[in-house]
């Protein structure tokens, strides 16, 4: 079996979707000046509520909507604490991660009366779409076809978000609120409202990310099943400099390396080292995506006066 074959790329797409969705959410938050470390917790909330929704409604679409709703409510806590109560965003993010871990475990007990994992073989996950024309393209068809709708939605959202940021009035104002909130406020732009909106959108995206994880990648919930994906999403957000397409590119890079690292396990390298691959490659990739120099950052922070 070859290392770089069709299934590698298909596997990459699956692995990357939850990360990409959450990373886009992170990018929106970052664009309004809120560094959201709570992606992991938001995603976990989404994953759990998707399963709960599915359990009660028996309909996978309603489940996704339910997941989005629950995650949005959870994200509003982030917004309220950091925007309204001026709590340190990072502390809020970290504690939300803890809170989500505790809440989902607890609710798992309350709702399903199980510990650790809820799995039901009759539960139906998200459908896999075989896309007629796409399917027939020789190599590409096998990579791109046969995924859950959320995989395609993630790609659409990355592009959509790029358009939203750079082509719409609301997007423009959102960027402005992040670039210089004082100035935006002095122009009568409702910065706070925009920040809430951004966090809300982030909640939607993380809800989708969770739903893809628990109803798309697999059809179950297990405690802590996000397994650090939220932090990887955070890295992708930063590496992509909060540019939706950049975020997508860095997520894909990470996903590819992750998929590759799974395959390299068979070879002579110890597993510990193959597992390092995605992280090492991401660091190397940072050589290309240069950071703004600290001088520029400092200039901006200490805004020139007259």
């Amino acid at each position: 079996m070859e290392l770089f074959d069709v299934s590698l790329f298909a596997s990459m797409l699956r692995l990357v979707t939850p990360i990409l969705l959450a990373a886009l959410g992170g990018a929106i938050c970052a664009r309004v000046g809120l560094f959201n470390v709570g992606l992991e917790g938001l995603m976990l909330t989404g994953a759990f509520s998707a399963i709960v929704g599915n359990y009660y409604t028996g309909n996978v679409w309603l489940a996704v909507i339910f997941a989005v709703l629950c995650t949005v409510i959870f994200s509003m806590l982030f917004a309220y604490m950091s925007i309204h109560l001026k709590a340190n965003v990072i502390v809020v993010g970290i504690s939300l991660n803890f809170l989500a871990a505790g809440l989902t475990t607890f609710m798992l007990r309350v709702i399903f009366d199980v510990k650790g994992a809820y799995y039901n073989k009759d539960m139906v996950g998200l459908p896999k779409w075989d896309i007629p024309l796409l399917r027939d393209i020789p190599w590409l068809g096998d990579v791109l076809s046969g995924h859950t709708p959320l995989v395609y939605l993630a790609i659409v959202l990355a592009i959509g978000l790029q358009l939203f940021f750079f082509k719409t009035v609301t997007g423009f104002r959102l960027l402005a609120s992040g670039e210089n909130p004082t100035a935006a406020r002095s122009l009568g732009i409702k910065v706070t409202r925009i920040q809430y909106g951004a966090v809300l959108l982030c909640g939607v995206l993380c809800g989708l990310a969770g739903a893809q994880l628990s109803l798309g990648n697999v059809t179950m919930f297990t405690e802590g099943m996000t397994a650090g994906r939220g932090f990887i999403a955070l890295v992708a957000t930063m590496l992509g400099q909060s540019n939706p397409l950049g975020v997508a590119a860095s997520s894909l890079l990470f996903g590819l390396m992750d998929a590759l690292s799974l395959r390299l396990q068979g070879f002579s390298l110890p597993t510990h080292f193959t597992m390092m691959l995605p992280y090492v490659v991401t660091i190397v990739a940072m050589l290309i995506f240069k950071n703004k120099s600290y001088m520029q950052e400092a200039r901006k922070a200490n805004e020139s006066s007259r």
Binding site: N180, R299, R306
Partner: protein
């Protein structure tokens, strides 16, 4: 009466920024508001613009009592404000910066083409040329100022507040701005303008109101007054005319020979600059900002790398040396941009004063707290720095007071050489007098000073020799006794008459 502010009082804790201020404005009028640093001018305007709410008092617009709880409300009532500190989005284009808040749109899409067209039309209509597609971070301060005004005009403001609009502009830019303001006033717009430059105020304003310590100390027609009377009303005392002794230059302290810095475009940023400054002499560098002065200062101070040439301080080569080394050998430096280079806003007055002195104020690596506080307290007294206490954060000082702190700090380094870049930018006339006096004193005591200023009067008043920079080169040297503003202006514009000079 278009606008009336009655008995406005605003207190921040125990500080009364405004107490019982009354102020009015007529349609088509240019009304100047002047006063010392910290007199309460900005506060009064922020209240009018809905950014602060007054502790007491009333605002009436066309006779109707109004109260603005946010800038949006003020904007809706056709009041626009150009802030003392630019409120721009550096990474956005000029057009974006101007239309923001009232963007032209196609359904939900932001119609950038129309924005550019609108801005083009706007700038033509009011005679303020800008390139709408250019990014603001790449623009000169003069253009940024124009963007701020165009933004206010785009919002449809009828009352326009300008808080120190000329602080960073070159003489030419100031001239253009004043002309534009007069023209707009003729078209029916009303202006409130704040400035420390009395000469321009008298030139442009119809009426002048003077604030001191939060109270109105006078209000008169511009035609009926003069600079002396205004400064007396502002400062509350008579200003002394500074007299400059003839220079007695000694041996060279700074020798710059043929230094160059490659630019990122085609033109070099610095192109073969040579100059020297001797003991007991002030050398002034004039020039429109953006012609290499910042880079020259950076190179001498060790903040920018040069590509070729040599810089000697007291005979020792310092090109490539660290800032620390250069400072230890004998450099002090009043930076051009006080917020960017001159202070850490979150640190206290004492901590900001300690920079550069730490190595002298220590024993075994431990700071000598008492002696440091004594030192800073002495400056506060000598320069009349208005601050709550020595542990007030620098960001709570008004700009002028912060500037005095920086000047005091750098003069106290007691170095043979001093770079003074825009040493009085944004400070009131009283403070300016103090700073100028201190600079001259240093020179008379044998110090060598390189003065960089976009203020020609300042250059003429302090310098013994004047060098003019244009496009990274020194295009002329003049003796101060014989130099005239006219002469310098021509050189600053690259030898052409300034009417034809590039302005962007």
């Amino acid at each position: 009466m278009l606008l009336q502010m009655d008995n406005i009082t605003k207190s921040y804790g125990s500080v009364a920024a405004n107490s019982g201020v009354s102020f009015n404005l007529q349609k088509g009028e240019i009304h100047a508001l002047i006063g010392e640093n910290g007199a309460g001018k900005t506060t009064l305007m922020r209240i009018l613009y809905g950014m602060e709410s007054p502790t007491s008092g009333e605002i009436r617009l066309n006779g109707q009592a109004v109260s603005f709880d946010s800038p949006a409300a003020a904007i809706a009532n056709k009041i626009g404000m150009v802030h003392q500190h630019f409120m721009l989005f550096p990474s956005f284009t000029i057009a974006e910066n101007i239309v923001i808040g009232r963007e032209p749109s196609k359904t939900v899409g932001f119609d950038r083409k129309k924005a550019i067209a609108d801005v083009d039309a706007l700038s033509k209509r009011y005679g303020m040329p800008v390139d709408p597609a250019q990014k603001v971070e790449e623009c000169s301060l003069g253009v940024q100022q124009r963007v701020e005004i165009l933004k206010v005009l785009h919002q449809g403001a009828e009352i326009i507040i300008l808080d120190e609009p000329t602080g960073v502009l070159t003489p030419l830019e100031v001239k253009e701005l004043l002309i534009a303001i007069k023209e707009l006033a003729r078209q029916g717009k009303s202006f409130i303008i704040i400035s420390h430059k009395l000469q321009e105020i008298i030139e442009v304003a119809d009426r002048i109101t003077v604030l001191r310590d939060g109270k109105v100390t006078g209000s008169m027609n511009a035609a009926d007054t003069n600079e002396d009377e205004l400064s007396r009303l502002m400062v509350g005392r008579e200003l002394v005319q500074l007299t400059r002794k003839t220079a007695a230059p000694g041996k060279p302290v700074l020798e710059v020979a043929d230094i160059s810095i490659r630019g990122n475009r085609t033109k070099p940023t610095l192109d073969g600059i040579s100059l020297h400054v001797k003991e007991g002499e002030i050398v002034g560098i004039a020039g429109i900002s953006g012609n290499g002065q910042s880079e020259l200062i950076g190179a001498i101070a060790g903040l920018a790398k040069i590509d070729s040439g040599s810089i000697k301080l007291l005979g020792q080569e310092t090109a490539g040396a660290s800032v620390r080394t250069i400072r230890e050998r004998g450099l002090a430096h009043i930076p051009e941009d006080r917020y960017q280079w001159g202070v850490a806003k979150d640190a206290t007055v004492t901590e900001n004063g300690l920079m550069g002195h730490a190595n002298k104020q220590q024993k075994y690596g431990l700071l000598r707290g008492a002696s440091i506080r004594e030192m800073v307290a002495e400056w506060v007294k000598r320069f009349g720095i208005k601050t709550g206490s020595l542990s007030t954060k620098a960001q709570y000082l008004s700009g002028g007071n912060l500037q005095k702190l920086i000047v005091a700090r750098e003069l106290a380094q007691l170095t043979p050489f001093l770079i003074a870049a825009e040493p009085t930018r944004g400070v009131d006339v009283g403070a300016m007098e103090i700073i100028h006096g201190e600079l001259l004193k240093k020179r008379d005591e044998g110090g060598a000073i390189l003065l960089v200023s976009s203020e020609l009067t300042e250059i003429l008043k302090l310098s013994d020799r004047i060098l003019v920079m244009y496009e990274g080169r020194i295009v002329g040297e003049l003796a101060s006794q014989s130099a005239t503003e006219e002469q310098i202006s021509i050189l600053m514009a690259g030898g052409k008459r300034h009417g034809k000079a590039e302005t962007t």
